[in-house]
Assembly symmetry: C2
Homo-oligomer: 307 residues x 2
């Protein structure tokens, strides 16, 4: 069996390394970060932190080199989904299933424009790049996957992928309806990410500081109201995810804070933007999500020094 990981940043690297280490499937990764790809080709990929391992697998920054794959895992930033799946789509046919493990909502819709069977996914492990070929593993966690409803992906395909990932060390729960897990993480991300990015506070400090801790809760309440009206049953309480992250050792920077520090476009359109979009559609007010969205868009707009 062949599996291709599209996007080999921190999260994609964790998946690829664990899958390769388990040895059940031939692993390919595709990423535009050439130094990282070259380092992996030369020395394999090193993971350190919450787990320590080095894994060897096929890596390329030329998507035309990808062979046919039974499974795909898309782990790019949400802002790159559309381009990345267009470049890699030839590796998949009508028997393949491609799973998003990305942040936010809206990625599966973009993948389904190019691929027959799509799997909705949400993952909690987090990390950061240390150097080309070397990824820091900050936070361990589970992954939830289920059929993307419009593509009618057979549940058996979901279960095979979940088994493969779990045996590789990335514990994955197959669900008939993965929307609850996805929205739980979306609501968690849409509170912690922009607040971290705007205040420069690491996750634990932002949780413990009363003004920003309260803001987390107020943003979560807005997101929950939208999910409730959409008929999505959340998979636990996003506040518990906030607490769990705050209790983890170290000073974890939310991925959006990492983006902002590197002046990279953020995923806010797929987080607070998506919650506001759905809120507007079904008549649930989301003033705080709109505010955080506007502030992050403003911060991105400042980087080219506008007139």
């Amino acid at each position: 069996m062949r599996i291709c990981v599209i996007g080999c940043g921190a999260v994609g690297s964790l998946f690829a390394a664990h899958l390769a280490k388990a040895g059940e499937a031939e692993v390919w990764v595709y990423d535009v970060w050439k130094e990282h790809v070259v380092a992996i080709q030369k020395n394999g990929l090193r993971i350190s932190g919450a787990a320590d391992l080095t894994a060897r697998f096929n890596a390329t920054s030329d998507p035309t080199q990808l062979p046919h794959c039974e499974y795909g895992i898309v782990a790019t930033k949400a802002i790159h989904t559309k381009t990345a799946i267009a470049q890699a789509a030839h590796a998949f046919d009508e028997t393949s299933a491609v799973c998003s493990v990305q942040n936010g909502v809206g990625n599966e819709e973009l993948i389904a424009e190019r691929v027959k069977y799509v799997i909705r996914g949400t993952t909690f492990p987090a990390g950061h790049s240390i150097a080309p070929g070397h990824i820091g593993y900050d936070i361990q966690g589970d992954t939830w996957i289920g059929p993307f409803e419009p593509t009618g992906t057979p549940m058996a395909r979901v279960e095979v992928l979940a088994g493969l990932l779990t045996r590789g060390g990335m514990n994955t729960i197959p669900l008939k309806d993965a929307r609850g897990a996805q929205w739980t993480k979306l609501i968690f991300n849409a509170s912690t990410n922009p607040v971290g990015a705007l205040t420069l506070l690491h996750h634990g400090a932002a949780t413990r500081f009363p003004p920003t801790g309260q803001l987390f809760n107020d943003l979560i309440a807005e997101g929950e109201a939208v999910a409730r009206k959409l008929g999505i049953e959340l998979h636990g309480d996003p506040r518990q995810l906030v607490q769990k992250g705050a209790n983890a050792p170290g000073k974890h920077h939310a991925s959006m804070l990492q983006d902002v520090l590197a002046k990279r476009q953020t995923e806010v359109d797929f987080m607070n933007g998506a919650i506001s979009h759905w809120g507007d559609k079904i008549g649930v007010p989301t003033p705080l999500n709109k505010t955080l969205w506007a502030l992050i868009k403003g911060l991105e707009h400042s980087w080219p020094d506008p007139d």
Copy 2:
């Protein structure tokens, strides 16, 4: 007649220099910024930008040197009002009147703890420090002053001060009720300052970029609702102040953005914090002002690298 300017940053310097140039009063300034005081003592104070002048007057960083003054103008950051007026109060007696020209609301209450007659004031000129002894004059504008209601300051004292300032080149309008002017500027500041500070956008760019321009309007609407319920009639439309500032030449950084770039504590408690405080008191919801307040407090909290 003797007049003392307490706080000789950009705004205090503009007032002191114009008053001294006019020559009607003996001008003293008190500031803890020693390099600035020494430069003024040596070479006078230079203003450049919207007006160009150099003025000589008495400057000290030792408040015990201040002589008795008939008038005082407090121009410190709002976060320093309490300390500064405690240090300088001996210069004033029961015949003196002390006017705030500071940002936000809540300063007059602090001055009135130490001084018999207090004058409520709001000023629009803006500038920035170029070097010790040299202030850039970015934006010209009017000043509105009126009795601080609880101290029953006679209107005649307000009118004398207004005349002095106007003849000195700082056009000042005496009003029986200066709350409307003060809240108009408060609402303007509480929208433009934290958004600029969080996005790093200069005022014109933040006004013209649709997401932040909309956020300005939403914050203004919240502040207007609080003022309306308090029975305060605004002195014009804060949106026009936003537009006027956006049309000014140059890339003006809101004072809170200047504070954030220098990692100085901001005035957000006297701006968004004050609007939320009044909103809570009279039952007007202020979710956006609370959000901006929490984000700025969080950003300040990040500077000492908290656990």
